[in-house]
């Protein structure tokens, strides 16, 4: 199954929290209807993507379905034109996976 980010947002910028939530809702709904079917989240036509967007979309999917399921079934695709995409995506994932390990560093940052 392919889900187009551009079709959901109607914009080339995937930057805001509610944009991320809109993607999250569509993916979650489709994935729950078609369990165990691979979902490719298509970023073609998207020019910019923010960490805020990734946390609101993939971050929430990770929280709902867990690392193993997301890794196996839900993948970003056609993002090569987006500057820093993979770096931000990996950071989002790393922060989620190491939530407990990094707690002290987060506390330090917020102090």
């Amino acid at each position: 199954m392919k889900i187009s980010v551009y079709d959901i947002l109607g914009s080339q910028n995937a930057s805001l929290h509610d944009d991320g939530l809109a993607l999250y809702c569509v993916v979650k709904e489709n994935f729950e209807m078609h369990t165990n079917e691979e979902v490719n989240i298509d970023f073609s036509q998207i020019k910019r993507c923010s960490t805020l967007f990734l946390n609101a979309s993939f971050g929430k999917l990770l929280a709902d379905f867990g690392e193993e399921v997301v890794k196996k079934y839900i993948h970003p695709a056609s993002y090569e034109q987006i500057l820093n995409f993979m770096g931000k995506y990996n950071d989002m994932w790393d922060n989620f996976a190491n939530k407990t390990n990094y707690q002290a560093y987060r506390d330090e940052a917020f102090a």
């Binding site: 930057s15 923010s50 609101a56 820093n84 770096g87 931000k88 922060n95 940052a109 917020f110």
Partner: protein, 197 residues
């Protein structure tokens, strides 16, 4: 002073300037805190859809945000490289200065953060406190503020901006403050209750 509750007033006003406290910028730029409500991120997003609404940032705040984020990523990098090693190894501060700042990871993280901020630049105005004197900079209107908080207050006052914060110390100030922090909001509502003799 006027503190409003973002749970009730969840939309920015047209033609209004907002200053997001650094602790709100951190989750926007990637370091999330479970204690902070999604309301702040939603409010931030709504600014971009509100006519004439803008976000003010001063250089000192930009510096604070960048330093906190990069220090966080440095701690993560330190863990990955040294946590499981024994013997002679640098401490985390030494690692930041001597290794991390010249690393490719530092440059990549810096580029990611700046790319995020740049995506919001259509609605960001870089500005500063113009009316500076040692006295205004160091005479805190509320004793609970630290220097950077006080600086944000001066910026808000001068530019007639609204501060969006979760920090409970932003009370008793002569600027508007929006928050989801119910303790801060309650301090305000308690202060305006008529006193019974």
């Amino acid at each position: 002073m006027n503190i409003f509750n973002l749970h009730n007033q969840s939309s920015p006003k047209e033609n209004t300037a907002y200053i997001f406290d650094s602790n709100i910028w951190l989750p926007i730029l990637g370091i999330d805190s479970e204690l902070l409500s999604d309301h702040y991120k939603i409010f931030f997003s709504k600014v971009f859809k509100t006519d004439g609404a803008i976000i003010l940032i001063c250089p000192i705040q930009l510096s604070e945000i960048l330093n906190r984020l990069l220090r966080y990523y440095a701690r993560v990098a330190y863990d990955k490289k040294y946590k499981h090693l024994t013997g002679n190894k640098p401490d985390a501060n030494g690692f930041y200065k001597d290794e991390y700042r010249s690393s490719s990871d530092f440059r990549a993280k810096y580029a990611e953060i700046m790319d995020d901020i740049d995506q919001y630049s259509t609605h960001i105005k870089i500005c500063d406190v113009a009316l500076m004197s040692l006295e205004t900079l160091t005479s805190f209107e509320s004793q609970s503020l630290d220097f950077n908080d006080h600086y944000l207050f001066l910026l808000a006052k001068e530019h007639d901006a609204v501060i969006i914060t979760h920090d409970g110390d932003f009370h008793d100030l002569s600027v508007q403050v929006g928050t989801c922090n119910l303790k801060l909001y309650k301090k305000h509502t308690d202060s305006i209750k008529p006193k019974l003799k």
